[in-house]
């Protein structure tokens, strides 16, 4: 937060802008790649709308699959895609080249379009479907039915009624998607560096890894990005100002569905194909890849082996990384959820003069890309006397995760605490309980489900995160996600596949268990 602003330096900014074409190229690429956000938002919205409003066969399975795609870390799935789409060894290219009229590779995953493809299928579209679903659910179906009875067909209803009414939600999704796009790191590093494609986050990573590290330039570059993001946030506020429509679904009215006859089978098949592309195909390939002697090479004498698994599971580095991951994610989960609950309570209930400021500050980290947060913390620790002891420590990693999840966590706790009527607290105090007693006995138990949900979400974030932690982790504090990353970019793709599978399995099991217990893990995400 305040940490990052410490890198502000006009001279270096001007130097960067004027002298470094690399910076310009990186920024340009970042923007281009982030432009996938509006398309994904509209596409994801249409999918979420269709799933909710029409009786699509297999609806529950399809919704679940999108949720799985939302939860799965992207880098392992990217590994899967390289098996199919690599320029030289990708299976699809090899098969297509067998056709007479094609004699060079059609697809190249190491390109801008390759990066966009991986993001869209594995991440951006599923995220939009999951995020926009609740907004649609909150809308009264009568509003759409009224349009149909007035003579509008389903497509007309979507354009005249649904989209305008949910404009604010779609806009929010687009902006958040855009910001996430700028933050994207590991896929770009893995796919992009081989082709010389750099983006903002990989450029920062690159600058920070120089010996000695070029922090000033990284900061200058980041300031430009932050300025851009602030403008974006400002523009968003203005656009959405008069477009918030409160619609409250009446009893059962949000689940009403309109009939469209046989078309629903066609749509169902289409969505199932989409889902397979998003999750199933890359996941299966990843599993296959983990058993390959040489990742991607199918035409060897002995293409498959168990050796990769044996090697990884016998490696002490792996178990160290596993331990580190667990410590970081559990630590961040516990510290984070309690912190967010406290801040949320402060913002909602107390009459402190500066609580509006605290509320505003709690949203700042949303605008800060992970790599920048990592950079800021790194330079803070290195350049502030006395903090050097935290360099490379697990505590630093925990701090990074807690800060990065601050906006979402506080927002979720605010919505939960906001639902506890003040009168419940007042009743306790009238009965003689002190404020802290009342908080323990009345508020916490009532928000327990949300508290646990936040804990799980922070835990999963800690397990998955790469961009925030990559600059902060040192060999002894390396978590599993960074181990995966290092294997991937150093060419040990087989080991990367194994570690990726294990990490994905841990994340998915945690998410599934939480979901089974009825916890809110993106199944009905808090509205922003």
């Amino acid at each position: 937060m305040v940490v990052v602003i410490g890198g502000f330096d006009i001279e270096t900014i001007r130097a960067e802008l004027l002298n470094s074409s690399e910076t310009g190229v990186a920024l340009r690429n970042s923007v281009i790649l982030s432009l996938r956000a509006p398309f994904a938002a509209l596409f994801g919205f249409a999918i979420a709308w269709v799933l909710l409003r029409f009786p699509i066969p297999g609806r529950r399975l399809i919704e679940f699959s999108f949720w799985v795609a939302f939860m799965m870390p992207v880098l392992p799935l990217t590994l899967g895609w390289t098996l199919l789409l690599d320029e030289y060894d990708g299976l699809i290219n090899i098969w297509l080249m067998k056709l007479p009229f094609i004699d060079e590779a059609v697809f190249n995953v190491n390109s801008i379009s390759g990066i966009i493809w991986v993001h869209m299928t594995a991440s951006t579209v599923p995220i939009m479907v999951i995020m926009l679903g609740p907004a649609i659910r909150q809308m009264d179906a009568s509003l759409e039915e009224a349009a149909r009875v007035s003579g509008a067909g389903p497509a007309r209803v979507l354009t005249d009624i649904t989209i305008p009414m949910l404009f604010a939600a779609i806009m929010t999704g687009t902006i958040l998607g855009f910001i996430r796009g700028l933050e994207a790191f590991e896929v770009e590093q893995f796919l992009g560096s081989a082709a010389g494609i750099s983006v903002y986050s990989t450029r920062v990573f690159d600058l920070a890894n120089w010996q000695p590290p070029r922090f000033e330039e990284a900061m200058a570059l980041s300031t430009i990005v932050l300025a851009g993001l602030s403008l974006l946030a400002f523009a968003y506020q203005r656009i959405v100002r008069n477009r918030h429509f409160a619609t409250i679904a009446g009893r059962g009215s949000s689940r009403r569905q309109l009939s469209i006859g046989k078309a629903r089978y066609v749509i169902s098949v289409g969505l199932v194909i989409l889902v397979c592309i998003s999750v199933l195909v890359p996941a299966v390939l990843l599993i296959v890849g983990s058993f390959m002697t040489l990742f991607g090479f199918f035409d060897m004498e002995q293409p498959f082996t168990l050796q990769n698994w044996a090697t990884v599971l016998r490696d002490s580095n792996f178990f160290l990384a596993l331990k580190n991951s667990l410590v970081v994610s559990l630590g961040a989960g516990v510290v984070g959820s309690l912190l967010y609950a406290g801040v949320a309570y402060l913002v909602i209930r107390s009459s402190l003069r500066y609580r509006g400021l605290v509320d505003f500050l709690s949203w700042l980290p949303w605008c800060v890309p992970g790599i920048l947060l990592g950079l800021g913390l790194l330079s803070l620790v290195l350049e502030t006397p006395g903090l050097g002891v935290f360099y490379g420590s697990l505590g630093l990693l925990v701090t990074a995760i807690v800060i990065s999840q601050f906006p979402l966590g506080v927002s979720m706790m605010k919505s939960a605490i906001g639902q506890v009527s003040v009168e419940l607290e007042e009743a306790a105090m009238v009965c003689g309980a002190s404020r802290s007693r009342m908080f323990m006995n009345v508020v916490l138990p009532l928000v327990k489900p949300m508290l646990v949900s936040v804990f799980v979400l922070v835990l999963i974030a800690g397990l998955r995160d790469i961009s925030t932690l990559v600059l902060l982790a040192q060999p002894r504090s390396l978590p599993l996600s960074i181990l995966l990353f290092e294997y991937a970019i150093s060419g040990s793709k087989e080991a990367a596949a194994v570690v990726g599978l294990i990490m994905s399995a841990i994340v998915m099991v945690t998410a599934l268990v939480a979901r089974r217990f009825g916890l809110n893990v993106g199944t009905s995400s808090a509205s922003t």
């Binding site: 009224a146 349009a147 149909r148 007035s150 007309r156 009403r256």
Partner: protein, 365 residues
């Protein structure tokens, strides 16, 4: 002359439950027919089937003689191509459009010229009393105003049939009565055919030419309001439409359509009993409308007077209500302010034989 709406043997299943069970009725031009019943009786579902927002599992629906849905022939006309107007219970007024745009929408879809649209919208707005609100965004309208926007939007394309789904249930009492009168007036002027859905029996009786009382997906009785009130076909209908007093008793004699019932173990009462399959010795329930009961001080020669004790007296401004115990059956009876019976006192209820009805004991009492 073809009926405007013909609903023929329509059924709709939700899972295992029959929400609409073999329902049939017609509506003629200019007629108001009300589906009356409690929540969950299937009346809203029936309305949505007519609008095309749901598909029936069985049956056929025709609008102006043209089949809009038929399970036998596999026909289903989607809602946007049926010529009906629908006012939703929640009004469903679009907050991102002005009042004008809301009302004009059906014409915009039908690609009517802008000048014609303006003329029509102003005419309808005048009819429903919204002329000064046309350019307002519809976000901050009151309930009554929203309801009129919804009505205007439903009427503007001159549909064959107007469907109203409990349009007054979200309004407060005073507004409800005002709007009801306006609605009645409007319907007469435009001679619109109306299918009305409500749980409020007074509304149903006031506004309709015919009432269909629904319970558990079936139409229990379809007749003019007076007939449904005075000659209900079963206990449930009589209890639901209007108020009753009920007395438990045993059938001691039956001749033709007149039964003699012993109430408690002391008094005998004659009651009408039509086609109920009752035999002597059956436990029965005798019902009578409060307006047919007179409070008398003592038993009358040749009449039927049931001894009762006043348990509680309540004051409601324009009348008193007495909570009375009559030989084991407890009822509430209004009493005008000139009579002076008080808690603990004895009185007699005089019930003319021709006005009481005897029924078999209903299963859920």
């Amino acid at each position: 002359m073809t009926a405007i709406l013909e609903v023929e043997n329509v059924s709709k299943l939700y899972g295992q439950m029959l929400a609409v069970d073999d329902v049939s009725f017609n509506i003629n031009k200019g007629e108001v027919l009300t589906l009356l019943g409690r929540s969950g009786c299937g009346k809203s579902t029936t309305l949505r089937l007519v609008a095309g927002l749901e598909r029936p599992d069985e049956g056929e629906i025709r609008l102006r003689g043209k089949v809009v849905v038929s399970t036998a022939q596999g026909i289903f006309v989607p809602p946007e191509r049926r010529s009906v107007g629908l006012v939703f219970q929640s009004y469903a007024v679009w907050p991102h459009m002005t009042v004008f745009e809301n009302i004009a929408y059906p014409l915009k879809i039908r690609r009517i010229a802008a000048a014609k649209i303006r003329a029509q919208v102003e005419r309808i707005a005048d009819l429903v009393g919204l002329s000064e609100y046309l350019s307002r965004p519809s976000q901050n309208l009151s309930g009554g105003q929203q309801q009129r926007v919804a009505l205007g939007r439903a009427l503007i394309h001159e549909p064959d049939l107007l469907l109203l789904d409990e349009p007054f249930s979200n309004l407060d009492t005073e507004l409800r009565e005002d709007l009801r009168l306006q609605m009645k007036d409007l319907q007469k002027r435009l001679n619109t055919s109306v299918l009305y859905v409500t749980h409020d029996q007074e509304e149903a009786m006031d506004l309709s030419h015919r009432v269909a009382v629904m319970f558990r997906g079936k139409i229990q009785q379809l007749a003019a309001p007076e007939v449904v009130y005075e000659q209900p076909e079963n206990f449930f209908i009589q209890r639901f439409v209007g108020k009753i007093l009920r007395f438990n008793g045993r059938l001691t004699g039956i001749s033709g359509e007149t039964a003699t019932v012993r109430i408690g173990d002391a008094a005998d009462l004659t009651a009408a009993s039509f086609d109920q399959g009752l035999t002597v010795g059956d436990d029965v329930v005798v019902t009578v409308r409060p307006e047919d009961v007179a409070i008398v001080a003592g038993p009358e020669p040749g009449g039927c007077a049931l001894p009762s004790t006043v348990l509680e007296k309540s004051f409601f401004g324009s009348r008193y209500e007495l909570h009375i115990d009559t030989l084991g059956s407890v009822n509430t009876l209004p009493m005008d302010k000139t009579s002076r019976y008080d808690t603990g006192e004895q009185l007699y209820l005089s019930i003319p034989g021709g006005r009481a009805r005897a029924w078999p004991v209903p299963p859920d009492s």
